[in-house]
């Protein structure tokens, strides 16, 4: 790897974090809340991207893990009286186990068959959440209202700003860990399984283990995102996590850019803001507008926004005669 480029990348990331920290002081609280949701979605998208982009397994049911994470946080706060910050790792752990267990049998399924199996999970989740036997915890169709955490007094910032920074901290941590994981041995194994499963196995990669671990880690990320999203929204109900959420997440991954870490942010912006813009344009057919935008994106940026940005950067540096960044 070129150390010159590595240093430049590091400076770029540091600059981005500084910008992200300054942002909530320049925009209204409601915008801060929207950006908090973008951050939460970006974690979920990174998780799904590990599975779909890097490992080549398509999931149409990640909304279910988002829901499990959200409900875990809500139930722990509402019934067990846990502080909000303590619920996030637990939500992640619960989702890791759920994802790993779901990943085991799902291993036998390839491509579209796996997509259908996960689709079933996504479709079933809202109804499972309404089921009588767990109604005492989940609140049934009524859902659970969560109390919004206050910022510590010494910070002097609003609740929304505090939640933004809390979520941002998780983003930095999880993206750092994800980046480490994906560029290392396991990341290479994941990509190898996606591209040449038989060759990967011949090279000594434990395909089964890596695939179910990927499923587990992916679910963990999505679960943490669900918990953060639930705390920001202050409410969970089965209707919040219908199958459309799963499809939206997959859309975000593809729009952002498959197998790209920075793509998670672009995808998150897309799923957060494009529906609002579509609604502004037409009340009669917001989804038609959404569809047109989606098709336009796919035409103009077939490798996602991240791929497009990479392409533009490559062109510019070639013109300048600088070495082409990877």
């Amino acid at each position: 790897m070129n150390p010159e480029i590595d240093r430049r990348k590091l400076i770029g990331v540091a600059l981005l974090i500084v910008l992200a920290c300054a942002l909530p002081f320049f925009i209204a609280n409601y915008r801060v809340f929207q950006m908090t949701l973008v951050l939460a979605y970006s974690i979920a998208l990174l998780g799904l991207n590990m599975l779909t982009g890097f490992n080549g397994q398509i999931s149409l049911g990640h909304g279910a893990f988002y829901a499990i994470g959200a409900y875990t946080a809500a139930i722990l706060m509402d019934k067990a009286g846990l502080p909000y910050w303590a619920t996030i790792p637990i939500a992640g752990a619960v989702c890791f186990v759920a994802g790993f267990l779901f990943g085991l049998p799902a291993l036998r399924l390839e491509g579209l068959y796996l997509a259908l199996a996960t689709f079933a999970l996504g479709v079933a989740m809202p109804q499972i959440l309404k089921h009588k036997s767990i109604e005492g915890w989940t609140g049934g169709v009524q859902g659970i209202v969560i109390v919004k955490p206050d910022a510590p007094a010494w910070t002097g910032i609003s609740q929304d700003q505090w939640l933004y920074f809390f979520t941002l901290a998780w983003v930095v941590l999880l993206f750092f860990l994800g980046w480490n994981l994906l560029r290392g041995r396991i990341g290479r194994a994941m990509v190898a399984i996606r591209d040449q499963p038989i060759a990967a196995q011949a090279m000594g990669v434990n395909t089964a283990l890596v695939k179910s671990l990927t499923f587990g880690v992916s679910a963990l990320y999505t679960g943490v995102a669900g918990a953060l999203g639930a705390i920001a929204v202050q409410f969970v109900a089965p209707d919040s996590f219908n199958i459309f959420l799963s499809i939206t997440l997959l859309t975000g991954v593809v729009i952002g850019g498959l197998a790209s870490i920075s793509g998670a942010f672009f995808g998150a912006m897309f799923i957060q803001f494009i529906p609002n813009i579509a609604d502004e344009i037409s009340k009669a057919a917001p989804w038609a507008i959404y569809g047109v935008v989606l098709i336009a994106f796919m035409y103009v940026m077939p490798t996602g926004v991240a791929g497009f940005v990479r392409l533009v950067r490559a062109r510019l540096s070639r013109r300048r005669g600088a070495p082409v960044p990877r």
Binding site: K132, V145, Q234, N242, D279, A284
Partner: protein, 410 residues
């Protein structure tokens, strides 16, 4: 006496309007404005499911925007134009939270109006009350929207599910006191809400009269076995608290099994087109339900002046809307009530006064309600409608009968 009250409030309003016209600026300075209100504009906000699973209800938001367009074309309310900002929430609670926060914090609306759906409204319930934003005329039937002590900024619009249950109970107590009642209800907050109304209405007689209660889940394929259980219990009266798909199944099975009880079917499933026709209209003859506003498909209102006025409005301001869809009439009614509340506010357009006036509707007449019905609220009574009339199915239409029945005042 009630008539006198109405006259007084009208005279006061007229007086205020005249005073405004004469004193112009001087009076405008005395006017009070909360966020979203000014001398020229009143900003209202709402979320609607323009996309998503409940998008059929999106027409309510559109008809309401059309109504305020008409109001504005005719000079507005006390000289101010109404600007209703209507946003899509896709029937998703998190989206509703986001959009309502936008309406309150960015657009700074004076009040929320007709936000639709129980889940979406549950999600914003605490927030709007903490922010002290009037959360008015919610488009849902849940009874929890009428709780002025805990949630003084939230007021529903629909006849509540509990009121509906009470009305059935009251009619049975009076007309069929020896009824043996079997109840089928959907196992969620809506089903339990209606059932609670039935039980409360029957009072001490509930234990004796209700011989069997059975439930179904929205995920069940049919309710056939539940109907047979009710038949086996010896019940002769069937209170059917179901949503349309299950309502149609219940109508058919209760007839085909040879049970043929007195079938009381709740308003949610009373649509002729989507419930009774699929079930077979001949199997529904004699079934009962309640109504509280006029049905645009009912031939008896064909030449009703209020109905003609509504149709003219539809033709002029909302031509793409379906004049057969009762949702368009419902939205028109809600917009009329909102207009009345804003009229009563006069020149004090603070959020507190909007809430005060919303809780101060005295025998407000709406010609599209059933004859004799009015809207009434008070500081301790956040239920707009507490009356309804029973209707019997003739095989082609719902025929109203008997008097208006009121629920117990709370």
């Amino acid at each position: 006496m009630s008539k006198d009250l109405l006259r007084v409030s009208r005279r006061t309003a007229l007086g205020a309007a005249v005073a405004l016209a004469f004193t112009g600026n001087a009076f405008a300075q005395a006017a009070k404005y909360g966020p979203g209100a000014s001398a020229t504009e009143i900003k209202l906000g709402q979320t609607m499911p323009y996309s998503g699973p409940a998008s059929a209800y999106g027409t309510i938001g559109k008809v309401e925007q059309a109504y305020f367009k008409m109001i504005n074309d005719n000079g507005g309310i006390n000289g101010r134009k109404v600007n209703l900002i209507s946003l899509d929430d896709g029937y998703s609670p998190p989206k509703a939270v986001e959009q309502v926060r936008r309406l309150v914090e960015q657009d700074e609306v004076l009040a929320l109006f007709q936000t639709l759906g129980t889940p979406s409204n549950s999600a914003i319930h605490k927030y709007v009350n903490a922010k002290k934003v009037p959360h008015l005329l919610l488009a849902t039937g849940a009874t929890k929207w009428g709780d002025p002590k805990e949630f003084p900024w939230t007021m529903g619009f629909n006849l509540s599910y509990q009121s509906e249950g009470q009305i059935y109970a009251k009619w049975l107590l009076k007309n069929k006191p020896n009824a043996k009642i079997g109840v089928l209800y959907q196992n969620d907050d809506y089903g339990k809400d209606v059932l609670k109304g039935v039980r409360d209405g029957l009072g001490a007689a509930a234990a004796k009269m209700i011989v069997k209660e059975v439930t179904y889940e929205v995920t069940d394929p049919t309710v056939d076995s539940q109907i047979l259980t009710l038949q086996g219990s010896g019940a002769d009266t069937f209170i059917d608290i179901t949503t349309p798909k299950f309502g149609a199944q219940a109508v058919r099975k209760a007839f085909d099994s040879g049970w043929k009880p007195l079938h009381i079917i709740n308003n949610v499933s009373s649509s002729i087109g989507s419930v009774l026709v699929p079930a077979g209209v001949e199997k529904a003859v004699g079934a009962m339900t309640i109504n509280y506003y006029k049905d645009p498909n009912d031939p008896q209102w064909k030449d009703d002046p209020a109905m003609l006025e509504w149709r003219a409005f539809m033709g002029r301001y909302y031509r793409e809307g379906d004049p057969k869809d009762p949702s368009n009439l419902y939205g028109y009614l809600a917009a009329q009530v909102m207009t009345q509340i804003l009229k009563q506010c006069g020149n004090d357009l603070s959020r507190e006064n909007v809430m005060r006036q919303a809780a101060n509707l005295k025998n407000f007449k709406l010609p599209l309600l059933l004859p004799g019905m009015t809207a009434n609220t008070g500081p301790n009574d956040f239920f707009m409608f507490e009356q309804a009339q029973l209707a019997r199915f003739t095989g082609t239409q719902w025929q109203l009968f008997g008097d208006l029945i009121s629920t117990d005042s709370r």
